[in-house]
């Protein structure tokens, strides 16, 4: 039987290409790090590395949520706007109201970091739910719904804070963005913890399997008894959760929330997920890949900064890389199909 021979071939592990394709992001990251270290020794300093990780942690958190969305062959363009909106709400709660927005530190009777975090997450969940509702009930494609969300949430953010920033929080609040446990920045811990939980959910839980199934073939998923609409709905709610959590950490790190925060993040986040090997066509990808993809983009940007490359060029680099990553995915797929 020819498939018997194919099995035998796979047992022997001759599929070098498959192996390289699988670890391509990691290999690329290592090469990039060696390259930057050779050009600019400062790159490898502990301070710089933790700095990179801290910068990565916000987009990384969003990318973890985005992985769920893209696994179902969806997309969420609204994350940057939602980040700003939820962050402002968290800030207002932390300050005890909008009227205290410019008082620094102890100004106003705030509701504390915990209430602020909950508020941010609640806003994220609600907005994600709304978008999921539009996608599943109104049958509008995710691209269009979240493009609308991108505009609407940015508008909501501007409206909410009348365009101005809300800054100056209690130390207990800013610790979540600026603090450290040992040498490790708190946002990095939050990001890696979130990634670990997401990995467990996708890899070991029934729900995770269902997400892959819906992304792999929605019709087959429905005929196999899955509630496809509910699963699609859920990934946008999960994305909303991570946007809310991310907004809280970002506000804490900057000690400020503003309506223009997170502009352009959607691209960085989607790029992180795609570079990490998650297919835009759904049904394939891992959280591990997303973590590598996020770090890869962070390292790339950091390295370019250290080499004094203009930030305009950085944008061009990200744009080119996302196209190349998808081209690679398409190539790998056609390659698999031939065998």
């Amino acid at each position: 039987m020819s498939e018997a021979r194919l099995e035998a071939a796979e047992d022997r592990g001759v599929d070098v290409f498959g192996f390289v394709a699988r670890f391509a992001p990691l290999l690329f990251l290592i090469v990039l790090m060696i390259l930057f270290a050779a050009i600019q020794p400062r790159f490898l300093s502990q301070i710089n590395l933790f700095n990179v990780m801290r910068q990565v942690s916000i987009t990384g958190l969003l990318a973890v949520g985005m992985t769920f969305v893209i696994l179902t062959a969806g997309i969420d363009l609204s994350v940057g706007s939602l980040l700003a909106f939820a962050g402002l709400v968290a800030a207002a709660v932390a300050k005890g109201g909008l009227e205290n927005r410019f008082t620094v530190g102890q100004g106003g009777v705030g509701y504390g970091w915990f209430a602020a975090a909950l508020a941010a997450i609640a806003v994220g969940l609600a907005c994600g739910w709304l978008q999921g509702l539009a996608i599943t009930r109104l049958k509008v494609p995710p691209f269009v719904v979240t493009l609308g969300g991108m505009s609407a949430f940015r508008g909501a953010a501007l409206l909410f804070a009348a365009g101005g920033p809300i800054s100056g929080f209690q130390p207990s609040f800013t610790w979540w963005g600026q603090g450290k446990i040992g040498p490790v920045p708190v946002p990095v811990i939050i990001f890696l913890l979130a990634a670990l939980i997401a990995h467990i959910v996708l890899r070991y839980m029934r729900y995770g399997r269902q997400v892959y199934a819906v992304g792999g073939n929605p019709e087959a998923a429905r005929l196999s008894g899955l509630n496809v609409n509910r699963i699609i709905m859920s990934v946008y709610v999960i994305m909303g959760f991570f946007a809310g959590l991310g907004s809280f950490v970002l506000a804490a790190r900057l000690n400020s929330a503003e309506a223009v925060a997170g502009t352009g993040y959607e691209l960085t986040v989607i790029a992180s997920v795609v570079i990490g090997g998650t297919s835009l066509f759904g049904g394939a990808g891992t959280i591990f890949g997303t973590v590598i993809g996020s770090i890869l983009i962070g390292v790339l940007l950091n390295g370019l900064v250290l080499m004094n490359v203009s930030s305009y060029i950085q944008q061009i680099v990200i744009g080119v890389i996302i196209v190349l990553a998808v081209a690679f995915d398409t190539f790998a797929k056609s390659r698999r199909r031939k065998v």
Partner: protein, 524 residues
């Protein structure tokens, strides 16, 4: 060099139009073709036979320029040729009609026939000429449609005729048809056979790939059999028989294809459908209507549902399974009235449905076999919210043995398996649910004979265990081989019911095309 097959000694007046010799093709880690020969004479219908994975598709891809061979020669009309692209092959007169059509559904018949070669000046298309020429070709093959009709509005059989018209418009000398009858009903097959014979009479040669051996004997002049990427034999169809061909394809004796089997005693009524009716509505104006469908399936019996394509068999199954809504009618499972609003609902009452289109409706091609088998039966392999992979492995192993699924490991992607193994994976998914009632829609479409017999035996075994099995199939030999009782349908109505022992293909055809309901009604 290779050994000359004996048949090359044939003295034919004019030489072969196509001669492929010593063709080899290697993919990373797999030898897909090794030293394969194929010779097609003028005005010849040549059957290319082999199980899935035998190398037919690869050989045809090499011939049509879609892939290049690593070794071997192709001679066309005595001239050595090498095609770098499908376009090269088309220019040389070889056109391939694939199983999945390559038509643009929103364009007209004429546009599809002349796509890329529109008649007219450099800038403008002459619609008038395009329509005229399309009409002329369409009449030759009996396609009675306005050339300006959108392809979307055509039936599958008509779309196939458009593909043939396109091949003819390219002045092709050799048409390759990859399983052209797989999606056709019996009457449509009869029509296609007539057209292919007419093309032969016009001097064209045709390479015909099919899994239905009766078509080979009905239509083809010569055959070539491949197995595991190797050339096995070729010869005149008139000088062989079904058993010999199967032996060549499978490489061993498969025993009597369909042995005698008494109709078993069956149990109580498992599923009862009464007056199931589904009308067209504004949201679904092209839907196939169901009018007063009534049928019963018993525990321990296989009920065959026969009918032409479009008779409403699949629609009946989908309505029962809660996929599509219906207007009225009652469904009883083990005597209790039920109405399912989703497949999930139906599954919780012990009903399973193996859908007709394996790739589009059943498989997760990019996902692991593991997920493909257990996705519907997650309750069986979980502890709380988590998958218990040890339980899962036990379950997968059970079905791997039961269905003799050939796979490297449960982590292999389902898309890498052959059609037969893929179908077994889908069956395993539903068996893992331990259903009381299982509806299987075209359970052996496009799979090789070895797997086909295995699937049939499996269905018979399931019925023995008390499951009510309902088989929908467009292949009458299949219906006759495994059903205990057969219900026929036509245009959304049940037209009759007959015991297998009383049925023949002719009787069934008559019942499937009968106009009045309840013609012969000799229930089992």
């Amino acid at each position: 060099m290779f050994n000359r097959p004996a048949y090359l000694g044939d003295s034919r007046a004019d030489g072969p139009i196509l001669k492929m010799t010593g063709v080899s093709k290697r993919f990373p880690g797999v030898l897909a073709l090794e030293n394969v020969h194929l010779e097609v004479g003028p005005s010849e219908i040549h059957a290319l036979l082999g199980e899935n994975g035998a190398g037919k598709s690869t050989l045809l891809k090499v011939l049509s320029g879609a892939q290049s061979a690593d070794a071997g020669e192709i001679e066309l009309f005595g001239e050595p040729v090498a095609f770098a692209t499908p376009h090269d092959a088309q220019r040389a007169g070889i056109v391939t009609i694939y199983q999945e059509f390559t038509l643009a559904p929103d364009m007209t018949i004429a546009e599809n026939v002349f796509i890329g070669r529109e008649p007219g000046s450099r800038l403008f298309v002459s619609w008038r000429r395009m329509a005229q020429e399309t009409k002329a070709i369409a009449e030759r093959i009996g396609l009675k449609r306005d050339p300006m009709t959108q392809v979307r509005d055509l039936s599958v059989a008509e779309q196939q005729l458009v593909e043939i018209a396109r091949a003819l418009s390219m002045q092709s000398r050799l048409i390759i048809m990859d399983e052209p009858t797989a999606a056709l009903s019996e009457t449509e097959v009869v029509n296609l056979v007539r057209i292919v014979r007419a093309l032969k009479a016009e001097g064209l040669s045709i390479i015909f790939v099919t899994h239905r051996l009766e078509e080979v004997f009905r239509l083809c002049d010569r055959y070539t059999v491949l197995r595991d990427g190797h050339y096995v034999a070729s010869g005149r169809v008139a000088e062989t028989n079904v058993e010999a061909i199967i032996r060549m394809m499978v490489g061993r004796d498969v025993g009597a294809l369909y042995g005698e089997r008494p109709i078993p005693e069956h149990g109580k009524v498992a599923l009862e459908v009464e007056g199931l009716t589904r009308r067209r509505n504004a949201r679904d104006p092209n839907a196939i209507e169901l009018i007063g469908i009534s049928l019963k399936a018993h525990h321990g019996e296989i009920l065959g549902l026969a009918g032409l394509v479009g008779a409403g068999r699949t629609e009946t199954a989908r309505a029962i399974f809660g996929v599509d809504a219906f207007d009225h009618g009652t469904i009883r499972v083990d005597g209790k009235e039920v109405r399912f609003s989703s497949p999930r609902d139906a599954m919780s009452h012990g009903i399973g449905l193996v859908p007709e289109d394996r790739k589009k409706q059943a498989l997760f091609l990019s996902l692991a076999i593991r997920t493909n088998i257990t996705i519907a039966a997650q309750d069986e392999v979980s502890r709380g919210w988590f998958i218990d992979e040890r339980k899962e492995d036990v379950l997968i192993d059970e079905f791997r043995k039961l269905l003799s699924i050939r796979m490297a490991s449960p982590e292999q992607a389902a898309g890498q398996l052959s059609g037969g193994n893929q179908q077994k994976i889908v069956l395993a998914r539903w068996l893992a649910l331990r259903p009381k009632i299982l509806i299987v829609d075209e359970p052996t479409r496009g799979i090789d004979i070895g797997s086909k017999i295995e699937v049939h035996n499996l269905l018979i075994d399931m019925a023995k265990q008390g499951i009510a099995v309902i088989v929908i199939s467009s292949e009458l030999p299949e219906i006759l081989a495994i059903s205990d009782r057969i219900v026929t349908m036509r245009e959304g109505r049940v037209t009759g019911e007959i015991a297998r022992t009383a049925a023949t293909q002719e009787i069934l055809m008559a019942m499937m095309t009968a106009h009045k309901s309840g013609a012969p009604a000799s229930a089992a």
